[in-house]
Symmetry: D2
Subunit: 334 residues, 4 copies
């Protein structure tokens, strides 16, 4: 059974999803692309043999759309997910599920009502790191006890340059939110409190209102302390690192370089400029796993609406710590 999909948002992320669904995902086809910029929608759709619309609600209701991917502006996520719920259609919403925990909670509650009625969960959230080979292998090593009981986790997230308009708050809610989902997922334990360490030097590339780099701490239910350096203007490359420290050993992701070079008195591997090459495989696997689950009627193996809410709650607690001198701040549990 082929799952006919529609993609809302024809920006970088939406175009990638559309391309994958049209060409590289078994069991999927692409019917429609929606974008408020009608030309952009048309350009994407033509290249992929799909049709274009400007109204996302038209896409959601279309008869030849069995499932929806939302990759439009963050501010539209909650409303569009709600429309999918109303239409009874499965939806994969890019992170964040909603800009605020209050809105995310409304989505979760709406989704639970649908789930109660129909016995299945319709909402998945695009925390694609859950499908990155390095993340998966570390998680498996932890589950199998190969490292012993986990004690600490150190994360580093570096971008080449911050998005225009980035603030200390958006650095948490848009960037660190990946770790606020992946850390508890890796360790199978919720984040219970967080702290944002104040008073750090900023790079001269940081805009006014942006603390960059930032350093954060999280405590998990299991007692593990997790630390995170988030550096948006790191310049030297896009890099996602994580080391899990267990009683008997440690495991850390490797940057997925395919080739080592020798030149100019250096032995080197290359960093990507941004997240797309780094996580291209994770995005593809996430879409494939989602389509498989829809074909088979099994539960989605992706992050759930609750997971999306949890990450947003942790992000809001982190921002509260930021505004409160860096104190450890409890995270509301779902």
């Amino acid at each position: 059974m082929t799952i006919r999909t529609g993609v809302i948002g024809a920006g970088v992320m939406g175009a990638d999803h559309a391309q994958n669904l049209a060409r590289n995902i078994g069991g999927a086809s692409l019917s429609v692309i929606a974008d408020i910029d009608a030309e952009r929608a048309q350009a994407s759709a033509s290249a992929l043999g799909a049709r274009a619309v400007s109204d996302p609600l038209e896409l959601i209701k279309a008869n030849d759309v069995d499932a929806v991917v939302i990759a439009s502006h963050d501010s539209t996520h909650a409303e569009l997910v709600q429309a999918c719920l109303d239409a009874g259609k499965p939806v994969l919403c890019e992170k964040p599920l909603a800009p605020t925990a209050a809105e995310a909670r409304e989505v979760v509650e709406a989704e639970r009502r649908v789930r109660d009625d129909q016995g299945r969960s319709l909402v998945s959230v695009g925390f694609m790191r859950r499908f990155d080979p390095g993340h998966l292998e570390v998680r498996e090593a932890i589950e199998e006890g190969r490292l012993g009981r986990t004690l600490l986790l150190h994360g580093i997230s570096r971008n080449v340059s911050a998005a225009p308009g980035a603030t200390s708050e958006s650095a948490v809610t848009n960037s660190a939110i990946h770790e606020l989902d992946s850390f508890p997922w890796l360790l199978d334990s919720p984040i219970t409190e967080v702290a944002w360490v104040p008073g750090i030097l900023s790079t001269s590339e940081a805009a006014s209102g942006l603390q960059d780099p930032a350093f954060m701490m999280m405590r998990l239910g299991s007692g593990v302390l997790a630390t995170l350096e988030l550096f948006l203007n790191a310049g030297h490359g896009y890099s996602t690192q994580c080391e899990v420290v267990g009683e008997h050993g440690t495991g850390r992701f490797l940057e997925p370089a395919s080739v080592a070079y020798n030149a100019d008195l250096k032995s080197y591997t290359q960093y990507p400029q941004d997240w797309r090459p780094r996580f291209a495989e994770a995005y593809r696997r996430q879409l494939q796993a989602w389509i498989h689950s829809l074909q088979e009627g099994t539960g989605s193996p992706l992050a759930s609406a609750e997971d999306g809410l949890r990450a947003t709650l942790a992000a809001e607690a982190m921002v509260a710590s930021m505004h409160n001198g860096g104190a450890f701040t409890p995270v509301e549990q779902v």
Copy 2:
């Protein structure tokens, strides 16, 4: 347009192909699996929603089979490819195209006749390394001149243990044949002569009649010397390495480890036991590229029948060198 496929051979390799075509390749579906072992065919087919047959010719002729994958015993390849040509259907044949150059040449000639009539090439050969990210990146670096003019190439191919019944000759025709295809492909230059260095120690794991490890040399049309250590009973892990040495630098594939561990006084990455995890991504990408080319009616980006013949001719010259004291032996050109 969905390409409906059939897979001949339900062994390890065929089952992987079938699984991919049924589930993980965009634009493909799986209609039939054929195996002389009817039960094995049935088991694979049932799990994937396909039907099973025992006669491969029935599969080739089936109306719901647009394209065929051959993963049966090497000895059947040439004949089955011929049947696909007779049926006018595109075929992806696992390497080798044929056990001997003479048979491979017959396939090439038959395929040329069909191609002349219909204007398209129907035969692709499964030299999947051409779709491995490391191979592709090294090839691109060479093409772009980033390493300067290529001067040397060093390859290492190590398996954990040799297949039962392996001989010095089969080590060339079944294992080294990958490099006999990938080296000229990497450098875009044909192999013109080869030498098999005699008189090397064998591991005690080597069977009678098997020189293991073996050391080979190849000259390419560009003048490059390529060397290859082939060690089937290496024991320590499955490993495919290659360093290209250019005037201005070198590039080498990295073993694609996702995680680095610290434990037991060691800092380590893990080797796979065999080729499946190492090249799983290359196999998937090869199938996807093949399906795309069929959907779009463009030429196949996979190795061609001529490429299959070239590798077999190089392998036969290597075996001739082996039987002739290790002298450099010319390779017949296609």
Copy 3:
């Protein structure tokens, strides 16, 4: 001019120093070894052609001792350094200079009086990391501005197992004290406040009263935040790591492995069991630099008594933070 030396303490560290001074350091000779265990002193001395005494003061006063190395129990350091000052002899005292800042301050003051009288500084402290090639290269990269302005520093210090009787406090004053010296030395900026993060899981190998691992933070005068994971029972190997994060790039020490192995499905390098192989070269270079400075009458390039006091003051502030819920605690400046 050969510098004739005496070594106080014939334990592991003292025996290494004695061996180096007797055999491996240009311009040095070894005259005497002192240990309260007369047999141990005699055993070491005989093997190296030196004489043994049990009274360290006898060694300090000996006519054939131009300079003294103190490697006896920590509790004796301050008093013995004072005796060297009284004798007007240069002394290299193993870290810590004194168990408490109060005692260290007395030494500093006494040393300043001697220095004022004689115009030279007599006391060096054995913070050998200042002579480790990795530390030196990172420091040079910072000084030359190759990484841009430094923003963050992440350190990791792991031992295989904690010394018997280790406590959370001794982990700071005996182990983390290395970083409390090396971090400000690397960045040429003093530590101004410190925090010891409470509430971390301990390994089951940790003794009662020992938080292990521990996580600490330091702010430096330059504004840099430094973090440190200290894990005494890490089990998997002795490892000293540090990454300096600058505006334009990062630099981190590599574990100094000489050989990479492939075996047992692993590609690995080996960790040492303890600090001796890791820092053997740093210890030798430190002694050689000290002897050179004595031969040439130039100032000692080793850590000074003031440096020893500074590290001890930072350690005491860290312990105060530990006993005060983890609050950032100011460090008294020298």
Copy 4:
């Protein structure tokens, strides 16, 4: 007992040896430096508190010279070693012992006569790789059987640029001679035959008469095949690599980088420009071991005159292979 030394040759190598003997080697002092360029000798000597002479024979005969280091032009080595033998003084001669095997054999025979008379061997040859930590660890791993029986050895030797006037022959006798000593030393088995593979592309940096890179093969008495890429104009860095392939695993030297950098979209370590930083530690350890052996009257642990002859015989066989179409050529045994 301090060993008073004299160094013949005040070029790069001689100046390094002199500096080490004067300052960094326990048990040694430097009395005299000789160089045919009197000013150069004087400059070196003044800085190190030694005296300068222009006549090397004057140095050899000097009363305050117990042992001699020869680092003058290769063409003078044999004659000066002979003078040391005549004077009954231990000598460390830089490689090669002599430019030809015939001359090297004369030295060996003269040294045997002295040895017979006095019961000790006076001549050591400066094959410093025997004191490189990576070489030593690989040798130990082989001896202890950790890799199983050795089957193959792959070496790579790359320089940034060839010395002026380098020829294909001098590349063997001056550069590859290091491997012609270190490979049999690593495996404790002599080289029995060698082959120089003809017909390889040269870099455009290669001078007329210089095959660069070159590829060589060696068979050892144990049956092991060793291969060597020698690339003098490699440009990308000075690099000495070697992988020993055993039945149960492999071991290879790591380039001894102390720091890993992230910058400019690269994760990298740096290569040295030449051999001096790469082997500085090996040179120092070699000198120290030599001085210890002289102090203790034990046999020298350095390469012997016979070792020097063996390497020269292998080099001459390699050149013979070069001039004979690349045939395997037997090496005369000592």
